[in-house]
């Protein structure tokens, strides 16, 4: 139920909300694969990888240096990157990392495979509606309340789009389209509530 609880967290800023969206709707964006992808462009130091990750994917939540180097260490252990000799300079790690054939193959696989389409929230909504009908609770009122909550989130995301940059807008769009899909389900279910109630109470 991670998705529902994330959706329920009050957004403090557009960036924070965008980060929620990333977690909600783009679970395939993992740090190891993203760093591998950045390394496929060119060999890089950990510092450069962190900077690029934060620029393109961080959306207000910078990747901690510790996580960068720990991830690079695991990738090296698994033969997906090779760390060069330490270079002189300030900082804890001045190695330049290079992607291996194994790592490049993994990126190629990842970028060509579709993400599993998972209708997360509908299952919760569906369970609530069916249970409400079973228990003689006001399912229509629940759906209206849920519609209002969805629209409130859509308002916040629309504001993010209006005031943010292109990256924020694209992430917000992803969320908006998913919320819109839920809303369409809510509307259709509202229209069919009487039939659903008969079915639920008859079984």
């Amino acid at each position: 139920m991670q998705n529902a609880s994330l959706l329920g967290t009050r957004a403090c800023s557009s960036h924070v909300y965008a980060q929620y969206l990333l977690l909600l709707y783009a679970p395939g964006v993992t740090v190891p694969l993203t760093l591998l992808g950045l390394l496929e462009r060119e060999p890089s130091h950990g510092y450069d990888l962190k900077r690029d990750y934060d620029t393109y994917f961080g959306r207000g939540k910078p990747l901690p240096f510790g996580q960068v180097y720990a991830t690079l260490g695991r990738l090296a252990r698994d033969g997906k990157v090779i760390g060069g000799d330490a270079e002189p300079g300030a900082g804890p790690d001045r190695k330049r990392y290079t992607i291996t054939e194994v790592g490049a193959h993994e990126i190629d696989d990842w970028l060509t495979q579709p993400v599993e389409p998972e209708p997360h929230l509908q299952t919760v909504l569906f369970a609530k509606v069916v249970l409400a009908l079973m228990l003689g609770r006001p399912a229509e009122s629940y759906l209206d309340t849920q519609r209002a909550a969805h629209l409130q989130r859509m308002r916040e995301l629309t504001e993010t789009k209006r005031t943010g940059g292109l990256m924020d807008a694209l992430l917000a769009d992803h969320g908006l389209f998913h919320l819109e899909a839920d809303l369409r389900w809510i509307d259709v279910t509202s229209a069919r509530l009487s039939a659903l109630a008969e079915l639920v109470r008859a079984t």
Binding site: A4, T9, T145, A149, Q152, K161
Partner: protein
């Protein structure tokens, strides 16, 4: 669990002064009831979305609020005066001076140029040609319509036509803009551009907006939404919504 406190109490738009109001409005077309006791209040400066499925009565409600339809019973108020009991002539005058309209298909006059169309409400209000065309031309850059002022409206894309319709609706600086599915004939990105401009212009001008839409993405531009179901208004904006599992 997180509590969402919606900013507006039902009907009072968060404590601001009510500018447009419907009280227990009934309206039928022949034997078909469209509104069956609809009540609604829109505050000054508020952007309100009226949502609902096809045939729910949302467009009829908008037409009643705008004084285009008169209710069979119930009351419609605008800025402290009863609208539904005004004479046809007075309601027409009010629509021309205080209201602006944008519909799904711009409803521009095809024989006229873009600037003619935008200037039309002012010319009908007996403004001088110089003042009317000056105001009309000032709207062209605001709505990204530079260079199309002399085109006939049949030569425009759908998005351009809706922006012209928006300029025409706002040129007389109405107190209320009524919009019925203003992006219904547009693709997603063009619709977003029109909504950005509609909401941006309305906020700049302090115009109250009543917006009918079945599209949640359009409704999300509004400050508040209500749902029309079976001819009645359902307003959940007062709900203390507990969002969680």
């Amino acid at each position: 669990m997180t509590s969402l406190n919606f900013p507006h109490a039902p009907g009072d738009g968060g404590g601001r002064r009510s500018l447009v109001k419907a009280l227990d409005v009934y309206r039928s077309f022949g034997r078909t009831p469209a509104l069956t006791g609809a009540s609604l209040s829109v505050s000054k400066g508020e952007i309100l979305a009226i949502m609902g499925p096809s045939g729910s009565g949302k467009s009829t409600l908008l037409h009643c609020l705008a004084g285009i339809f008169t209710p069979d019973s119930g009351e419609v108020w605008f800025d402290g005066q009863r609208l539904d009991t005004l004479s046809d002539a007075k309601r027409t005058e009010l629509r021309r001076t205080a209201f602006g309209f944008v519909f799904q298909f711009g409803q521009l006059v095809p024989e006229l140029t873009v600037t003619d169309n935008i200037a039309l409400p002012l010319l009908l209000g007996r403004a001088s040609r110089k003042a009317a065309y000056g105001a009309a031309e000032s709207w062209l850059p605001r709505l990204d319509l530079d260079g199309v002022g002399r085109r006939r409206t049949g030569e425009l894309s759908g998005g351009q036509a809706q922006r012209v319709a928006l300029a025409r609706a706002l040129v007389a600086r109405p107190q209320v803009l009524f919009a019925d599915e203003p992006t219904g004939s547009l693709d997603t990105l063009t619709g977003e551009l029109v909504m950005d401009l509609l909401v941006g212009s309305a906020r700049e001008e302090g115009t109250t907006v009543v917006l009918v839409t079945h599209d949640a993405r359009v409704a999300a531009y509004a400050d508040r939404e209500v749902l029309v179901r079976d001819g009645k208004v359902v307003d959940r904006s007062d709900a203390q919504v507990e969002v969680g599992q």
